[in-house]
């Protein structure tokens, strides 16, 4: 008993020397710690899951070339069991547990698979290898080497270049549209306007973040696309430009609220000093406050990039989703996120298409991770510089 007591006195359950016992607070504190820990564990687990599903692609361990020799069903009893097991793609346990009739059915199915495989000369190519994922290839029926994403076909074509370009194109348009607007609004709201207008404008812009992306996407699909089409008169009604503008609407509140915070947190004395030395409000905002808040502004842009490249619903609805390689922003485009969302439902679990889609997911994960990491790095550098430490 005495032993237990001495243990408690070092802080267990909130019992500390010279303090009143507060076990409830202790429990709450540990609870919060567990919750935050589980968030980290969750992110880690999700990454593990995505990476595990995509691993065979990264390692080049998949082969969808239809080169397997078909063994006629009649020869089933002639070939050794080990060879039969390998031919049917069974594990030891499955093979031992399976009766003869089932194995025979499986052999019949193998023959059917071989018949279904097209007579295409491309059928012998392993289209899941990196060479076909990244470089153009002249498929039969095409008159020049091309980047083709056609995952549902006799010969599945998984070139991811059109999707990479599609994602980058839509994201770039979104950032070009939203960053100047959001930064301008942030400077105006934090530096130039009166407190009353500020109280009105800030929540109004931040309210944009509350619009569900599917609503924004639908709005872009039905209204914005038609209006922009009739004004600008380009070829395809749904394209990277329309999707980018709609994406921009989703990015604006993200960039705005972080940039505005950064600008507001610059000490008031900077502005006052500038004003006292005779600069105008504009000069103070543009030449003094903005440079001082650059790390925060940069962070805002990086987060905006992450939001734009990861957004799915808007691009799925408004981009037209044609997987073509073109840098023209008025061409229809297909992004990685929209591809995953649209195609995952039909992909055979564990199949080639499924794994390639997970590979795209892992790629997105890496891109956002790297961009956030670089953002962090630059912010630290800039902060040090700002504070005159180096």
């Amino acid at each position: 008993m005495a032993d237990k007591h001495s243990k408690r006195s070092i802080g267990w359950m909130g019992l500390q020397r010279g303090h009143q016992a507060r076990p409830l607070e202790w429990i709450v504190e540990k609870g919060i710690f567990l919750v935050s820990l589980s968030a980290i564990v969750m992110v880690f687990l999700i990454f593990l899951f995505v990476a595990r599903e995509a691993l065979p692609v990264f390692l080049g361990k998949m082969n969808n070339a239809s080169g397997q020799k078909v063994i006629p069903v009649a020869e089933m009893d002639k070939i050794p069991p080990a060879q039969l097991q390998e031919y049917l793609g069974l594990t030891d346990k499955e093979f031992a547990a399976m009766d003869r009739e089932t194995k025979k059915t499986l052999m019949e199915v193998k023959v059917e698979t071989a018949q279904e495989d097209s007579k295409d000369k491309d059928a012998t190519a392993n289209t899941t290898s990196w060479r076909y994922l990244l470089r153009p290839h002249q498929w039969s029926g095409y008159d020049k080497p091309e980047y083709i994403w056609q995952p549902v076909a006799g010969v599945q074509k998984f070139n991811i270049i059109p999707l990479l370009i599609g994602s980058l194109k839509a994201t770039l348009v979104a950032l070009l549209f939203s960053v100047p607007l959001a930064l301008g609004a942030a400077i105006y709201v934090s530096q130039l306007t009166s407190p009353r207008k500020r109280e009105l404008l800030k929540p109004a812009i931040e309210l944009l973040a509350g619009i569900p992306s599917v609503v924004l996407g639908f709005f872009a699909l039905i209204v914005m696309a038609s209006v922009l089409h009739s004004i600008l008169g380009y070829q395809s009604r749904l394209n990277a430009f329309v999707a980018g503008i709609a994406l921009g609407l989703a990015v604006i509140p993200v960039v705005f609220s972080i940039a505005e915070d950064a600008l507001t947190s610059v000490p008031r004395s900077y502005t006052q000093a500038a004003l006292a030395l005779g600069s105008s409000k504009w000069q103070a905002a543009w030449k003094i406050v903005l440079p001082a808040a650059i790390p925060g502004v940069f962070a805002a842009v990086v987060l905006g990039f992450g939001r734009a490249i990861g957004e799915t619903m808007i691009v799925l609805l408004a981009s037209g989703n044609a997987s073509i390689v073109s840098w023209d922003i008025f061409d229809s485009t297909r992004t990685m996120t929209a591809t995953i969302a649209a195609e995952m439902a039909e992909a055979v679990v564990g199949g080639d298409h499924y794994r390639i889609l997970f590979m795209l997911g892992a790629l997105l994960f890496v891109v956002t991770f790297v961009s956030n990491f670089i953002g962090d790095l630059v912010i630290h550098r800039l902060k040090h510089k700002m504070e005159g430490k180096r």
């Binding site: 499955e94 199915v109 083709i148 056609q150 799925l316 195609e343 439902a345 039909e346 055979v348």
Partner: protein, 283 residues
Amino acid sequence: MKKLISKLTIVAAMLAIAVSARAGNITVKGSDTLVILAQKWAEVYMGKHPEVKIQVNGGGSGVGFAALQTQTTDIADASRKIKPKEIEACVKAFRARPTEYKVALDGLSVYVHNDNPVKELTLEQLQGIFTGKIKNWKEVGGNDAAIHVYSRENSSGSYEFFKEHVLKGQDFAASAQTQQGTAILLQSIARDKEGIGYGGAAYGGGARALGVKKDASSKAVEPNEETVVNGTYPIWRYLYNYVNPALDKGEIQSYLNWIRSAEGQKIVKDVGYYPLPEKLREK
């Protein structure tokens, strides 16, 4: 030891309860094309047989087959035939080929904008247009304007069906814009004078369906019940139900039989698809 036995009995009793509770339950999962029809079937059937509970889910034909393999659904809805790869997975999972039932007919219509002067196209012209070899409407007797091709997502049964039957397995033009559903596709075509797309005949409205000719010399056929059921309209398909043969008895069997009876087929017509020809029905 006694404790262990009593524990085991409790577990066994609970399992028995769970199984008996499931007995009157049928789960249906799969094709989004079929989901409205399947729901209607379930609704009417449950009205007649209150002791049976039927749960219908969409997600896509492939999702239905995946659920059939993992045995999380009793019946898989599909708007296409099962693929050998999927049969293989089923055989590995439950040691038998899934049983296939044809449950309805569906005709795919080709849609253009209402103001488009083109009234009919041959299958060959359609193949040219959708693979991107024919790029201008004047090549098929229309205005001098670029053709805008609209297609469906490659997860849709219509996509695969159209690719196989009209494109003869060739790839869709890369510039084809893919739409999330037939309704959205029709919206886009109704707003695009140079647009062309395809979709289930169940939808319609907003745009106009073209007549389709088997070849240059034959007559153009409009999609409607008569032409689809007697097979003169060239772009049609069966809709399927797949079931694990071990489960194809009792409630599930009588449900599947009812679907293919005159009564079930009447609902097919109400929803907007086409009923099976007499010879394929269950008496």
